[in-house]
């Protein structure tokens, strides 16, 4: 049995707006084991980023609230941790790579300063020289020549900036890395470089990664397990083999696969899922996917299905 690093039980997150309550995450259960890469897939608005922000304790102050459930990281319940506790965890044990490398770096600090900032905050025992040595090491690791550390973000290209962001996230050798669409803003050739680098780093540092993406291709490249999210719920979770090679899949996952133009076959028409995600201020009863599902039955409209378990493969469908 692998060691659990992060365990999320029945997590509920809502955003309060002036008009309505937005149910972003509804009863989410998820575990991440040590050294494992878990892919979290779903459309815009499925609650992927909200989940990551809850783990980091970074939900927006006045509008985002955790309404129930726990997030256990090792022995600490993050939902109950104080801001001071979180400051110790964040950046040191759990860190996050944001989607857009163009806006997540400070434009008026050199990249060397931005990496050493993390070390200064978390590794108080290090002196200046040791920090500077560590910055060189970490830059080397992500493939940036250390003599460029005195340069500013605008002097780097998109792929290089994303490497800097990854370097900052990895500076303290975190146990868990949350990567929120780390390659979406990059070109395919650069994406391939960054993915290859993340694979190598994972082997070297044994970091667990939660990879948030909507690109199933990226998931198949580097993930051990995959969770598919829809309207704030996990609807399917299993090993990469279960999801990509399994004989049975959730109709929504099938729809996602049907939407991707296949490179090996030529079909004239794609088979996308009809319609749109339900409005998360007003979710339908029963299975949340039933309004778009082509196999919908009467029971789907009233009863929310439980997980059906088949070894490592969990599907939430009737």
């Amino acid at each position: 049995m692998p060691d659990k690093l992060l365990e999320i039980n029945d997590l509920n997150v809502v955003y309060e707006t002036d008009d309505a309550l937005v149910y972003a995450v509804n009863g989410l259960d998820l575990t991440i084991n040590k050294g494992e890469t878990l892919g979290l897939v779903g459309e815009t608005g499925a609650g992927k980023t909200t989940t990551a922000l809850s783990i980091m304790g970074l939900l927006p102050d006045k509008t985002g609230f955790i309404k129930g459930g726990q997030i256990k990281f090792e022995d600490i319940d993050i939902t109950k941790a104080t801001e001071n506790d979180m400051k110790l965890i964040r950046g040191e044990s759990v860190s996050m790579i944001f989607q857009d490398p163009m806006t997540s770096l400070n434009p008026i600090l050199t990249i060397g300063d931005q990496i050493s900032e993390v070390l200064e905050l978390h590794k108080k025992s290090l002196n200046k020289e040791q920090i500077s040595k560590r910055v060189d090491e970490i830059l080397q690791l992500v493939g940036i020549p250390p003599d460029r550390k005195g340069e500013y973000p605008h002097q780097f290209s998109g792929g290089m900036k994303q490497r800097v962001v990854i370097a900052i996230a990895l500076a303290c050798e975190p146990k868990l890395l949350l990567a929120d669409e780390p390659t979406t803003a990059l070109d395919v050739t650069i994406q391939a470089q960054v993915l290859e680098m993340m694979k190598d780093l994972k082997e070297k540092l044994n970091t667990a990664v939660l990879l948030i993406t909507h690109d199933l291709g990226v998931v198949s490249e580097i993930c051990d397990r995959v969770a598919v999210m829809y309207a704030g719920e996990i609807i399917e979770i299993g090993t990469t083999e279960d999801i990509f090679g399994g004989s049975y899949r959730h109709p929504y996952t099938d729809g996602l696969f049907g939407s991707i133009p296949d490179l090996t076959r030529s079909t004239r028409r794609l088979n996308p899922i009809e319609g749109l995600m339900p409005d998360s201020t007003n979710l339908p009863e029963g299975c949340k996917f039933h309004t778009r599902c082509c196999k919908c039955k009467e029971i789907c409209k009233t009863v929310n299905p439980q997980f059906k378990i088949n070894g490592t493969h969990f599907i939430r469908c009737h």
Binding site: Q191, V218, S259, R268
Partner: protein
């Protein structure tokens, strides 16, 4: 092959920058047959969008020709061009930024009709707008809504309706689906292919998403730093990529199948060079795994290797 609807001859666009001339588009030769789709792929900054805009004369070309049914439209006067624009339209990348937030859906779709004075009465205009909305699958009830009330897929449908308003023959689609989710992306692609069949449209489809481009294109042009490095029918290009850049690009696509995790890919090192005052020789030489000394010295021309398959590489 039928007569090309659009043809470019040595089309060139340089931008002046403080550090020298930026070669955005450098002697590009293309031909797009009527009713077909040319896909243009390449990394950011390779000049795909600039090419599209120069062809539509939204940017002035530095040199070369753009032929529309054999006539060079770069010499047209403003008045002639105004007439020409009815048959050439564009769909923009970002459905969030390319719609005026202060206009309703019907006003946005009707604007081209007003500008070109096509409809002669209010009533005709309204009829035309509702017909267009019906064509692109927008519900009647959205007539008086504003773009911010709609999701990305519906907004892109407005952009498509606006481009179709004047019954154009040729549409430049500048990354029309890259801002959308996969399931919505598939809906929009299906719509565009349906419209092409129905109206005999000619598309120039600009994208960096290779699986999308294979799906929709008849022919594909691969661009690298302002130059077209390979051009071939879509099936042929994917089956037999000849230029080292094309094969690296195809190799870099993550494929959603099981085997891909174990696959060790040939990854091209480094990044795109600056397009400002590029050195002579092959532009891809610095990143090319097969680079030889000749590549750094001689400029390369696009040569026809097989019928319909053009490559610009010294080694082939």
């Amino acid at each position: 092959m039928n007569i090309p609807l659009i043809e470019t001859k040595n089309l060139t666009k340089y931008f002046d920058t403080p550090r020298g001339k930026l070669h955005a588009v450098d002697s590009v030769n293309l031909a797009i047959g009527k009713g077909t789709t040319l896909g243009v792929v390449g990394e950011s900054g390779c000049g795909k969008s600039t090419l599209g805009r120069v062809i539509l004369r939204l940017l002035d070309a530095t040199g070369g020709e753009v032929l529309y049914e054999g006539k060079n439209i770069l010499n047209y006067s403003d008045r002639e061009m105004m007439n020409m624009r009815k048959s050439m339209q564009i769909i923009f990348q970002d459905p969030y930024a390319s719609l005026n937030p202060r206009m309703t859906v019907s006003e946005i779709i009707a604007e081209p009709l007003k500008v070109c004075k096509v409809a002669d009465s209010e009533k005709k205009m309204d009829e035309k707008v509702s017909l267009l909305m019906d064509t692109v699958g927008l519900d009647e009830r959205f007539v008086n809504t504003y773009p911010h009330e709609l999701d990305g897929g519906r907004r892109q449908r407005i952009g498509i309706a606006r481009a179709l308003a004047l019954d154009p023959q040729f549409i430049v689609c500048d990354e029309p689906v890259s801002a959308l989710d996969v399931s919505i992306q598939a809906q929009i692609l299906n719509l565009m292919m349906y419209l092409q069949d129905k109206r005999q449209l000619t598309y120039m489809f600009i994208t960096h998403n290779l699986s999308v481009v294979k799906h929709i294109s008849d022919e594909i042009a691969v661009m690298y730093l302002g130059q077209c490095v390979e051009r071939a029918p879509s099936e042929e290009l994917f089956r037999n990529p000849l230029h080292p850049y094309t094969s690296a690009l195809l190799d870099a696509i993550p494929v959603p199948t099981l085997k891909s995790g174990s696959r060790r890919r040939q990854i091209i090192k480094g990044e795109v060079k600056s397009p400002i005052n590029p050195k002579p020789g092959c532009r891809f030489a610095a990143r090319c795994p097969k680079c030889k000394s000749v590549c750094n010295e001689e400029d390369v021309e696009l040569k026809e290797i097989e019928r319909g398959h053009f490559v610009a590489c010294n080694l082939i």
